[in-house]
Amino acid sequence: MRLSRLGVMQPTRLSFLRVLMRRLADAKAVVTRPVWDMNDEGHGCAVYTVTIGARAYSLIAFSQALAPEDRTDRVIATAWDAAFVLFDGIPTEDDIARLKRDVPRQEAGRLSAKEIVLSRANKSVRVFSDVVDALRRGEQPKKDLIRETGYLMRTTAVYGNGKFGLSDRAAYAERPELSGPFAAEMLTVWLIRGFTHDLAEFLGGAEMDREIKRHLGIGNATGLGMAPFLVSHPRLLDAWFRVKETALARVLAQETIFEEDANHLLAAVSEAKAYLADWQVADLDAQSEIDALREEWDRFTADVTVETLRQAGALAALFAVAETRSEALQELAAAWLLEPFGALIDGLAADQATHADPCLDASMSCAALKTLIVSHAAWALDVDFDDPAATAQFWYVSEEKLEPRLGDRESEAGAELETPLDSARQIAALYQALPSDERPLWRFLAEAPEHRAAARRVQTLAEHPYSEVRANLLDKDAAPIHLLRAKLSFFGATRFDPKSRLWTRVTLGQGLPLLDEIGDEAPWLPSL
């Protein structure tokens, strides 16, 4: 749970998009497009309805003109190429008219309990234009172009769970198709992807090759807004990682594997190799890390054959080798090893969601809590908070658009209003303040209420070992992008393309089945 490892995580078959695809396949879901009302410039409205069992969900898309100078991915933007909402059911004309008013306004509008997810997207202008132009000429888009960017449009926010009047998650979380973490948001992103394909084909007047279309995912610009989530949802974070680690343990515990699975693993070696070759980013440091990983992967898998994979204890031995290599290689190897074993691990996805909140055991003695801190949160005690470098950064909520930001404590104002994402500092302060006697915790907290939150976090950590990011997020070297990478890998994002230590572009849904291909296998790491 250290930042450096979180920052090199990869998607797996347990990532939420792939879990969603399997759920849609199991439910024999069907997507139709009852509304396509676009003018010659591709501006207008479209509705996609996905029927999953007895329920229907509809993506309503509003496409509009946007001046180039207004096109920004920042949360502070006020206009977009397209705006979307996932509607709970099939919208009436009145619903569409209402949503036409509010959805393009995004945060400035107000949704109702009939709407589940709100989103918006901007075109990747060069790619979109080139694809449309190629189709108009009767040609297919150049694969190099598709490979380079990987999407036609980028979402810049995907809101759910009660924001701006949307349905609270509790209202639909018991439905099997939406019970997974961010399942509604993933469904929305997948449907938006389909819309972008249709829009390009409509404007181009021809259909794209399916292989090319599959490789067009949805881009996303992910900034700091996503980072605090990992701190504010400790039980959920623990559930995600616990499932991943349990899956890996099950896979590694296999003494031998079937030939079919060995062949699958071998194919996945090549899949990863091709993906790493395709994965090119502008940031020089990030690119050199990808290059290093590519070389390390080649060395690590050089002697992997069906025969070696079928030897007794082969997978555990392989992973033991990986553990002597870089964290990036370890994470890639861990994801790789899960690939063939759906029958063994896919059921674990049901445990990724939890509604549980951390609960305080106020009967615990202060001495016992102190012991817990030493045994489970020593990483917090190892920080010298008197060193200015350890508190060089501070998190805060900006008055403008109420978005999380990261400031420099020495040069920027506002540190007195910092958001309490300083779990390490809180835990260290708790440790210093706690008496070492058998006094019950409730008495201590009655006199020192400022330590209540930290006490609860430590107790949660003792029972749920993956509930804390084991890092001081105030440190001058703490890069939020590692938090973003971790969460996005659970979503199923690929092609991390960091633009700074604060934000990254990624691609979601690349390689997944198209809207009429539900049931087809989704790749682990897509390449074209």
Binding site: E69, R74, V75, G162, K163, P404, G407, E412, P449, A453
Partner: protein, 176 residues
């Protein structure tokens, strides 16, 4: 201004920020936000905003076989009361509780989070069976209450500057 209909998630977010803005320690702010957003009705929300207007003050209590809080301020006293009961004390008395409408939400939250089942009889809380209710409605919050909550929450926001705008990520123009 008309009443505002909030989602439960919005209620949680504004209560947490408002409590912190009013000077409530983080752990107590979390308790308030969870209890009222998960289990509170319109009365509880109004009670929360009034309680926040009083600011934070640590509670005064004396321990006998149970606990007795004098001039009990709900936001401070209720979590400690429930802690003590969870730890085995047989009863807690909350004399002159300022915002009694908050108590059912806290008791429901304790039951739902498996911290313990307690019931309130007059000014006393004792262990007892409790089936917690988790409303699915959207509470209507009066304009005055909403104003109070957002005002307190705004105390936690930092005004934007050109420097801070650089700090969030993504380009200002994204025509790639």
């Amino acid at each position: 201004m008309a009443a505002v209909s909030l989602t439960r998630a919005e209620l949680f977010a504004v209560l947490l920020r408002a409590a912190r803005g009013a000077g409530v320690p983080l752990g107590h702010a979390e308790d308030l936000a969870h209890a009222v957003s998960d289990h509170g009705d319109a009365n509880a929300i109004t009670a929360a905003s009034r309680a926040l207007n009083q600011g934070w003050a640590p509670p005064l209590f004396e321990q006998y076989e149970g606990l007795i809080f004098a001039n009990a301020r709900a936001i401070a006293a209720l979590p400690i009361a429930l802690d003590a009961l969870q730890s085995g004390l047989p009863w807690v008395k909350l004399l002159d509780l300022d915002e009694a409408a908050l108590a059912p939400a806290y008791l429901d939250h304790a039951a739902a989070s498996q911290a313990g089942e307690f019931v309130m009889e007059d000014d006393m809380i004792v262990p007892g069976p409790r089936v917690s209710k988790r409303p699915k409605d959207r509470p209507e919050v009066s304009a005055a209450c909403w104003g109070t909550l957002t005002q307190h929450a705004a105390r936690t926001y930092v005004p934007a500057t050109d420097t801070s705008r650089q700090g969030a990520g993504a380009g200002s123009i994204d025509n790639d």
